[in-house]
Subunit: 171 residues, 2 copies
DNA sequence: GCTATCTATATTGTGAGCAATATAATTTCA
DNA sequence: TGAAATTATATTGCTCACAATATAGATAGC
């Protein structure tokens, strides 16, 4: 028998699994608060973008802008926006100048939700027991990692260290 | 007019959005490699657990064990396992001693995939351009955060710092 | 001006995630 | 022992994600 061991394939050595698990944990933490506002987590993200655009007097915004900000494609965003329109949170309208474009804006109800959502991020922070410093540090670290992430189709780059046989390879 | 500003609701100030985005980016990076093995990302995670159990001679394992390790409920895992059974990767069998339990084991095909998967984590690391140290540090940081995360239904805890009005609240 | 190309959005189909509920087997304990 | 509670898995219904494709409007070259 071989009895080979593959530490690089052990679940708890994977960075991907930690990120995946934390992402679901955070979403689950938001869920009860957002449910009180009649929102799902992705719908909340759409509203974050629209509320911020409203602050800057940039409403309406095209669907394309939402896709860029959220890093989601139209296959996800279009049905999401349809549900939000049905829920009375947003409006969608074809642009007159360029009929390919659908412009998205907030309804009064969608805008009004911002007041109720105001407390949500801090509330989550409190419930999670994470310190503000820890959260900010981690956020900035992840944002840098996301920014340096290779665009899809980019050529493979080597790891920044000399190659070896790491016992626990956090792929 | 009010012209109020809500920095705590700005998308890029949210820790949740960074985690969510990175999680999807990583999954997308795995996708082409796993596709070559005929796997989806969650199916790969199931195999990681089963391969490790095989190393320890603990196969078969109950569905409950997979749910615990992956932090997923049966509503996700049961159909996932059914698809993997159909694909010939695993076997599912009711336990004789306790007929509530379904024991999951690897088929030869499912076990054999481990050889091909061996290179995947390091391959992802290379493509991502992240250094091994950076990945390990981040992984350990996230694991600590996940471990300290409150169980569902736990009472709200305050943030570890004095309350104030943080400009950018990473909820 | 006409066709090829490009751009913006929508649609289809599959596979997660997850809440809520259902079903059936086991255990508890009065 | 026998009903109530518990445990393990499955099912249903809804909402993402995302690849692949479709559609229609705008733009570029010739």
């Amino acid at each position: 028998m071989e009895d080979e061991v593959y530490p690089q394939l052990h679940l708890d050595n994977q960075l991907c699994f930690s990120v995946y698990t934390l992402s679901r944990l955070i979403t689950q933490a938001y869920q009860p608060l957002l449910r009180a506002l009649g929102l799902t987590y992705p719908q909340y993200l759409v509203l974050l973008v629209l509320w911020q655009a409203e602050e800057d007097k940039r409403l309406p915004v095209p669907v394309r802008y939402l896709c860029e900000r959220l890093q989601l494609d139209t296959g996800t965003v279009t049905p999401l926006l349809k549900r939000m329109e049905t829920a009375g949170l947003i409006r969608r309208a074809r642009s007159a100048e360029d009929e390919r474009i659908v412009q998205v804006s907030l309804t009064p109800a969608g805008l009004a939700l911002r007041e109720q959502a105001q407390q949500v991020p801090l509330d989550i922070l409190c419930r999670s027991g994470v310190s503000l410093e820890q959260a900010q540090t981690l956020r900035d670290q992840l944002r840098r990692l996301i920014l340096q992430w290779p665009a899809d189709g980019a050529p493979p780059r080597g790891p920044a260290t000399a190659p070896g046989t790491p016992e626990s390879d956090p792929g």
